[in-house]
């Protein structure tokens, strides 16, 4: 009894910030990656369904498993209402965690968002992007952060886990390729560079090579956009207004600090470090295992997790791939009781049907996710597709590798392959399309 009373008095070790962006207005390189799925303010990225559960519920669940009790969701003004609606009404967490939803200015970068909520972050903090689905045990990351006292711990996953699984056109996601340099002995992160931004060569600084002569350069690893930062990094962000994005500004800066003392001095990081020494420093010096603390140096840690499944749904391709994977992993029944599925319809084992959905006879649904309250006519073939809530597919249509957004209506006898249908879009009967994007907004920017 006493202990329960005492619990609130102990300061939490970590807070978490979920960055809930739009998905198609990201300040980083590839704009419109998820267009038209998150377009028109209909669905913020955080609420895009993955196996009929919004993205954000995966992160919330992961954080709660990690025993993080103070979660801040940084959302754009438009998305805020919707996300808070979801968190309050639909999300069933353990109830222990305190979830706040905070509005951040529109069109700002991830580091800007952190700067604007600085007053709410009191401890070391986890930053997680809202399109990440991972099953890495949280304590792997947190333990690494605890043990090596780094300024930053970043998490890298093996892209092969998703990319190799499907016959993916090689050209499609070239911008995604990243080069990650890690010093294996100390698991310190030295280099991150994305292929899209590089021209021809990857420059290495002499100061780095002389300090860390053995660096293992990976091309298969992807940054999960899941970081744990020390609190003082926030001071750095607050002080230096030029840092707008975590990935593009903050991380490279911290990496550079590992080997360039001049940068450390210029940014005033040495003072921040001096004020935040390892609490166990004195004890480490006595330790028989000879571990020494890194005095007044910035340490960036990389945690590489090759087993398990991790993926980001930040492009349409990876989003649908993620859906397929999560459906496979889906533990519950695939067709809920409230759905009306005609007995003459085939729903494959690798598909999922949402609640209140009606499917007429002689349909065939394979490797697909059908959302809640959809209406599927008779004789419809759906393969490898995602049909979101309240969509309507009329008789005799054939959908292959399509994404149909909420409320869209696809006319009878349409034949669509590799198409995206925006929210509320109504397609006429007998539409035939291949690799098209149908949406009401920005229709002039259809991706070819």
């Amino acid at each position: 009894m006493f202990l329960e009373q005492a619990t609130p008095s102990t300061a939490p070790e970590l807070q978490a910030v979920i960055l809930a962006g739009y998905g198609n207005r990201q300040s980083c390189s590839s704009v419109l990656r998820l267009y038209p799925l998150t377009d028109g303010g209909a669905v913020p990225k955080a609420l895009l369904p993955v196996a009929n559960r919004p993205f954000i519920s995966y992160q919330l669940e992961w954080l709660e498993n990690a025993n993080i009790q103070d979660i801040i969701i940084a959302a754009y003004p438009d998305a805020r209402q919707k996300i808070s609606g979801f968190v309050q009404k639909m999300y069933e967490g353990s109830g222990v965690a305190k979830i706040q939803i905070v509005e951040v200015p529109d069109h700002c970068g991830s580091a800007d968002a952190l700067r604007s909520i600085k007053s709410k972050i009191k401890t070391d903090f986890i930053v997680i992007s809202c399109d990440l689905v991972t099953d890495i045990p949280a304590h792997y990351l947190i333990n690494s952060f605890r043990l090596q006292n780094p300024a930053m711990t970043a998490f890298f996953y093996d892209a092969a886990s998703l990319e190799a699984s499907a016959e993916r056109p090689a050209s499609k996601d070239d911008s995604q390729v990243e080069y990650v340099g890690i010093d294996d002995k100390t698991s310190r992160l030295m280099i991150t560079a994305s292929k899209a931004e590089l021209e021809d060569d990857l420059d290495l600084r002499v100061s780095m090579v002389s300090k860390f002569p053995v660096i293992h350069l990976h091309s298969q690893l992807r940054d999960a956009h899941l970081y744990i930062f020390r609190r003082w990094v926030l001071e750095l962000i607050a002080k230096n207004k030029n840092i707008t994005s975590i990935k593009n500004d903050l991380v490279p800066l911290l990496l550079e600090c590992q080997h360039r003392d001049s940068v450390v001095k210029r940014e005033g990081i040495d003072k921040l470090l001096a004020a935040n020494t390892d609490p166990f420093r004195a004890a480490m010096l006595l330790s028989t295992s000879g571990h020494e603390t890194h005095d007044n140096t910035v340490v960036c840690n990389a945690v590489v997790y090759l087993e398990g499944f991790t993926a980001r749904g930040n492009t349409i391709w990876s989003y649908s791939e993620l859906n397929r994977h999560m459906v496979k992993m889906h533990p519950d029944e695939r067709i809920p009781g409230s759905a009306e599925v005609s007995p003459k319809t085939q729903v494959g084992q690798d598909s999922l049907v949402g609640e209140g959905t009606k499917i007429d006879e002689r349909c065939s649904i394979k490797k697909s996710v059908i959302g809640n309250h959809c209406k599927i006519g008779s004789n419809v073939k759906i393969t490898n597709s995602i049909i979101m809530d309240y969509a309507h597919v009329e008789d005799g249509s054939k959908l292959e590798e399509c994404v149909v957004c909420p409320g869209a209506k696809i006319g009878a006898k349409s034949q669509l392959k590799d198409c995206k249908v925006g929210a509320q879009k109504i397609l006429e009967a007998e539409t035939v399309g291949k690799n098209e994007t149908y949406a009401d907004y920005l229709s002039d920017e259809e991706s070819a």
Partner: protein, 710 residues
């Protein structure tokens, strides 16, 4: 019972034949010797056993006689010269001094203690403690005379206890006398003259009832006398303890082994929780559950109470089944049942412990204190409780969590005991802070204004003082003491084992002073801590040789001295240290190379262990399989997955040892170096024989240090 005992008198502190011959004079043993009638073949054991009892009943007879130093000596030839130098002139003086001390404390006269301090301060640079005591003695000749006659009476209860202990060993039904002795020593009436007691199972119903009545009467009498209420579990514990001792001594046939178990002071936290509760009751303690893990009842009980659910070892080694053995799992931190009440600093410390990024007695103790400081400064007293009570509980939970990651070492126990005493002592400073709601409000508002309330600030201050006075300054002093007494000379070849922070400091300092010497670092798998030692020595520019323990017989021929650190110095003079130390000490002993142990007094323990089996810590057997030969700091903590897949694959071949049915691996962390291998211990009080632990503990290192200027 007294009559009965008189016939089979066993003598408190009888020197063995060898010792008498060595010293050549019996009068030095003025300790509680009354009568020597029988001296069985197991005499050596008898002595050690009685010593154990003495150690254990320390709190029981606060004014009682202490064992004289000489009685504890072993007759090793190597030690003789040292001991002679140390004892022969002053020994008598010392024992008299002890008598005087006890007398002084009887009168509740604090001057004796402060005298000691003042005396020490008078000559801070004096290298040998004994000389100082001699001086003091000369000054105090007068009171000592008065103190003399008081001796026998004070010695009495203790002596009876020793008899008790002796009978436990020599009689076929040892548990018969155990409980009466407790009662008698407490001074409860009606306890003496009882018929021998059966164990409860053997009794008839009527007998059981009678026993119950008697216990109730005892309790009433005790209350009437105003004695402190004994721990509710005491009588049962005492029984269990005696029982356990009997079982072990009967089963193993090694009487001494049994004694070692029964005399073991409680290792569990209950002891630490009530540091000052000793009062006047004798402390016959049961064997801690940690060491009786093969008993299914106690095991399940302990498992229920544990803060962290851990998977028991799948292939435990049968010989060590009495110790806790767990599978190593990193997820214990994720699955900690302890969610909520373990402070984050303690959580990460636990991780540091289990991953061995912080290891070694000094480092762990210091880290723990730093973490607890954080705990205390983040602590707010919940409404309706008092800080003294609740904070003690709160700290216990943290410590309990830490003990689940690795068992606590002697240094940590001392520190925790000290801290808890400080917490319970707070009430005197702030008498009614928590009693009235008004003052509670004041407490709150005070806390809002400044991060630490006065009490918390005081505790943090106490922790800092402890770190400074018991860990850091002693280390400096040991280094200076050793150098001043010229233990390292030009041309010396010093052998050391693994890595000890004090030894490292000493060697580095000696090098800085320009002494030309060489170091042989001996080391053992799987921890290979010697590599870290080697790295730092070489970096400082000291000539080094690195050998593994299998090359010792060859390497020892070059060595002129062996200097090692210790995890604990036990009451019987044995050294508990990193596994492998014992081999080094033994090799050195055989090669007639002196062995010096550097150890701060806060690692001195009143525990007695005669071998490494009684208590030990069992590590992860997979470490033995890892043949990568990396030094610990190069080894990535297992909590973090290795990015390089091939590094994991190297272990592959032997990884599946678990599938080999008849193969079991044992990875021990500690071993016990018998006192006879150790030439001397250097602590902050000076150079002492390792057997003088009890003296140091009794004199209270705090007090003797008080006036000392480092």
């Amino acid at each position: 019972m007294t009559k009965n005992a008189a016939k089979r008198t066993v003598v408190g502190f009888t020197p063995s034949n060898a010792e008498q011959d060595a010293v050549g004079s019996a009068r030095q043993f003025s300790g509680g010797v009354q009568d020597v009638k029988t001296r069985g073949p197991a005499n050596a054991d008898a002595i050690s056993t009685s010593m154990l009892t003495a150690a254990d009943s320390k709190s029981a007879t606060p004014a009682g006689k202490r064992p004289s130093l000489g009685a504890m000596r072993s007759g090793s030839p190597n030690r003789k010269s040292f001991e002679d130098r140390l004892f022969s002139e002053e020994h008598q003086a010392q024992s008299k001094l002890q008598a005087q001390r006890s007398d002084a404390s009887l009168k509740a006269d604090p001057t004796a203690a402060s005298d000691a301090g003042a005396d020490a301060s008078a000559k801070p640079g004096e290298p040998q403690m004994s000389k100082k005591q001699l001086k003091k003695l000369q000054r105090q000749q007068q009171p000592q005379q008065a103190g003399g006659p008081a001796q026998p009476q004070q010695g009495q209860p203790q002596q009876q206890q020793q008899q008790q202990q002796q009978q436990q060993q020599s009689q076929p039904q040892p548990q018969q006398q155990a409980t009466p002795s407790v009662a008698e020593a407490t001074g409860a009436p009606g306890a003496s003259g009882e018929p021998p007691r059966k164990s409860q199972k053997e009794m008839t119903k009527a007998e059981r009832r009678e026993l119950q009545e008697r216990q109730r009467a005892e309790k009433k009498a005790r209350e009437a006398l105003g004695l402190p209420k004994p721990d509710r579990s005491k009588p049962i514990q005492a029984q269990a303890g005696a029982h356990g001792a009997a079982a072990v001594s009967g089963g193993a046939g090694a009487a001494s082994g049994g004694a070692g178990l029964s005399a073991q002071p409680a290792m569990d936290l209950s002891k630490i929780t009530s540091p000052s509760a000793g009062g006047g009751t004798p402390t016959m303690r049961s064997t801690p559950t940690q060491m009786r893990y093969d008993d299914p009842k106690r095991r399940s009980k302990a498992e229920k109470a544990a803060a962290v659910v851990r998977k028991p070892a799948q292939k435990p080694v049968a010989l060590f089944s009495h110790l806790t053995q767990f599978e190593r799992e990193t997820s214990i931190f994720a699955e900690a049942k302890s969610r909520g009440f373990v402070h984050p600093a303690v959580l990460s410390l636990g991780l540091h412990f289990s991953e061995f990024t912080i290891s070694g007695g000094n480092a762990r103790c210091m880290a723990m204190l730093l973490a607890l400081k954080k705990v205390i400064s983040d602590y707010t007293t919940p409404a309706g409780t008092s800080m003294q009570r609740h904070l003690t509980q709160h700290v216990s939970k943290q410590v309990d969590f830490l003990s689940n990651t690795r068992s606590l070492c002697a240094s940590m126990r001392t520190a925790i005991r000290h801290l808890k005493t400080q917490i319970t002592g707070l009430s005197i400073d702030m008498p009614d802070e928590d009693a009235s709601p008004r003052s509670l409000e004041w407490h709150r508002s005070d806390m809002d204004m400044q991060p630490c309330s006065i009490a918390k600030a005081k505790l943090c201050d106490d922790i800092d003082t402890f770190i400074r006075d018991r860990i850091e300054l002693p280390r400096e002093f040991i280094v200076r003491e050793t150098l001043q007494s010229e233990k390292i000379k030009n041309g010396d070849v010093i052998m050391t084992f693994a890595r000890s922070s004090v030894v490292l400091d000493l060697l580095l300092e000696a090098h800085r002073e320009g002494i030309q010497f060489r170091v042989i670092v001996s080391d053992g798998r799987p921890r290979l801590e010697g590599k870290e030692m080697l790295r730092q020595l070489v970096r400082a520019g000291i000539k080094c040789t690195y050998v593994l323990t299998n090359a010792l017989p060859f390497a020892i021929k070059e060595a002129t001295k062996v200097i090692i650190g210790a995890s604990a110095v036990l009451a019987n003079g044995a050294i508990m240290s990193r596994v492998g130390t014992s081999v080094v000490a033994m090799t050195a002993f055989n090669a007639k190379v002196p062995v010096m142990v550097l150890c701060e007094t806060y690692k001195f323990s009143d525990t007695v262990r005669l071998d490494s089996f009684v208590w030990n810590e069992i590590g992860n057997p997979d470490d033995l399989v890892d043949i990568s030969n990396r030094s610990p700091s190069e080894r990535l903590a297992a909590a973090v997955p290795i990015p390089d897949k091939s590094a994991g694959a190297k272990l592959g071949a032997a990884r599946d040892w678990r599938e080999i049915e008849r193969l079991k691996l044992l990875n021990l962390y500690y071993d016990v170096t018998p006192a006879k291998f150790v030439s001397m211990v250097v602590c902050e009080l000076g150079q002492v024989p390792s057997t003088s632990v009890l003296t140091v503990l009794r004199d209270g290192p705090e007090e003797s240090l008080k006036g000392r200027h480092f």
